[in-house]
Symmetry: C2
Subunit: 342 residues, 2 copies
DNA sequence: ACGCTTCGTCGAAGCGCTTCGACAATGGGC
DNA sequence: GCCCATTGTCGAAGCGCTTCGACGAAGCGT
């Protein structure tokens, strides 16, 4: 419980010298700097967060809001919250957790009381109340994900279009000519709108550009096993699948495949796009272009810190390029007819 | 950005009167109280957290540390963190998230800088470094879970013994005479030590008291499907199972059962003990005595707040009684021999 | 040797709130 | 009608830090 005054006395300098020696905001003779540091260490001095925040008008805290609808993955949320927290620590910020029921109230409160210097908004829905609030808050806010109207907002997200393009490219390069997309359930799309649609569009677009035969199916969460049948009905010749579904559907699909005796990648290649792995479970055995918190969160936090410290101006969407994780689920397309030349 | 001085001016009273009117810490005439409140509302006044914290020597923030080893369930962690946060809000506290890699450093830092008024420790291991730290921190700490040595610590946990007892009692009352326990994998027990062992002991103890035939198996995470075979080998007559495993094993067991044509509850009754449901997935279809964050976290937060505000003295273990959730997986034991009297 | 800048340090003024002691004004007991 | 306790309000002293302006001491050119 030593204060800066104790350190000053111990080091035989004034309070402001201690402050400058510790913050480096003014030049200090090496000698006195060392004396101050030694005194601080000897006394186990740590500046009180509240006093620092009051004087510096900055709390070094960022708030994180995650709504948690029943159908979103808790483990993914945790992964994002953790990634934000870790990234924040790299900038010497701590992270305040704002929960579901009072996300709005929490945002208002942390802004009004200067509890937090900025806010990170997770799990953004297409028409998210938090978007309107953010515009009127007068406190830096960064969204991880894109609401329908990004006007005036600062957003960071995975480049889902690029990811879908790359997935199709990868399959095309491996010789696949008929590819299916297993997308999100219709109701998720209705709510989340933005990114599943971006994937669907980008998938179709690139498949068309490359002259591929393609189709998409949206699973029904109550009958996830039907999705493979649906796809095969639509696309009997399919040799490759792009997967962008809830994990449960992906698991069901895996089961359906093995039940039908279809091997990955021998009979069917699979690439996953924009799915978030549960770090506490074994990953799906598919090549993927994941929505990895480690990719987007640091960018979001960097952006937010830039806003807080006045280095950046608000507004603008940053799309983070996807990275490809190989798990051996893409193989050359099986030869369609036995018309090979020997 | 109105300050208390603005409110005082607007209401025509002194600063301290505003403070007392808002905090209620001294009696104030109804009339002036109303005037102050109106003035505050008019100006959109919200007290600055840092100023309040500095003056009151209390930040109204509690820190939460969750380690997150690879094998613990992220969704469960999230559920706990959320439950703590919600409970904290009920006491007008906010929640700071401390992550894995610097749990210790984070605890030290938030205590030393008075960033947090208290700390909640989640996912406690048997020999948890955070336990020693907590003893030397001079800052209120509450553990959710029991380390091996609880001396000098304040801990809250589910009463796993009572839960195991109740599970056995329930099965016994339904006429079951041979019961198996599917417990945690050996390595989890080695690390987590405390609660799985408490369950195993209490299970055996109560089964013995009631004269039941019993046995326990510990699954192997790499071969979860073997667990049913193991149990049937040990206990061919088994008619009821108490389940206290990772979710993945429970799922595997369900599959093994249906593969063998065993129906729950017709052929086999099942009760779950001390398992935490993933709120974003459909619950296991078993009667359970869950480790529900909604049970332990509010108690832990109440305790912590008591410590912070000096109402309680530290030390002591609080065991929260389990609640029983029925899902129709317990039925009367099948009659062993067809020797019924008509 | 002179004034100039530059460098390192200090003092003091806040930051916006809580809280303690003081002090009128009121009310009750006698 | 007097005294004492209550009650409601105020003023001021912090809480522990940051930061601005000031200022003596060097160092420089000339």
């Amino acid at each position: 419980m030593a204060t800066i005054a104790d350190v000053a006395r111990e080091a035989g300098v004034s309070i402001s010298t201690v402050s400058y020696a510790l913050s480096g905001k003014r030049s200090i003779t090496e000698d006195t700097r060392v004396r101050v540091l030694a005194a601080a260490a000897r006394l186990g001095y740590a500046p009180k967060a509240a006093a620092r925040a009051l004087a510096a008008r900055r709390s070094q805290i960022i708030a994180v809001t995650t709504p948690l609808h029943p159908d979103t993955d808790h483990s993914a949320h945790m992964a994002f919250a953790m990634a934000v927290t870790t990234a924040a620590r790299d900038h010497d910020y701590d992270t305040l957790l704002l929960v579901q029921d009072d996300a709005l109230e929490g945002m208002r409160r942390s802004a009004a009381t200067s509890l937090a210097d900025g806010i990170v908004v997770l799990d953004v829905a297409a028409h998210d109340e938090r978007a309107d609030l953010a515009r009127s808050l007068g406190c830096p806010v960064v969204f991880i994900g894109l609401p329908a109207d990004t006007g005036g907002l600062t957003c960071v997200d995975l480049d889902f279009r690029a990811a879908a393009h790359e997935a199709v490219d990868t399959l095309h390069a491996a010789g696949h000519r008929t590819v299916g997309l297993v997308s999100q359930p219709a109701d998720v799309i209705a709510r989340e709108a933005n990114y599943p649609l971006r994937i669907e569009q980008a998938f179709a677009e690139r498949a068309d550009e490359l002259g591929l035969t393609h189709a998409l199916v949206r699973p029904d969460l109550d009958a996830p096993h039907a999705v493979l049948d649906d796809l095969l009905r639509l696309l009997p010749e399919v040799t490759a699948i792009v997967l962008s579904t809830p994990t449960s559907v992906a698991v069901a699909l895996t089961e359906s495949l093995s039940r039908r005796g279809l091997r990955v990648p021998d009979d069917l290649s699979v690439v996953t796009v924009g799915m978030t792995a549960d770090p506490s479970r074994p990953p799906l055995p598919f090549d993927s272009l994941p929505l990895d918190p480690a990719l987007t969160c640091p960018v979001a936090v960097d952006t937010l810190v830039g806003l807080i410290e006045g280095a950046t101006s608000p507004g603008g969407v940053t799309l983070v390029p996807p990275t490809h994780v190989s798990r051996g689920s893409v193989a050359p397309a099986p030869v369609p007819h036995p018309t090979e030349v020997v």
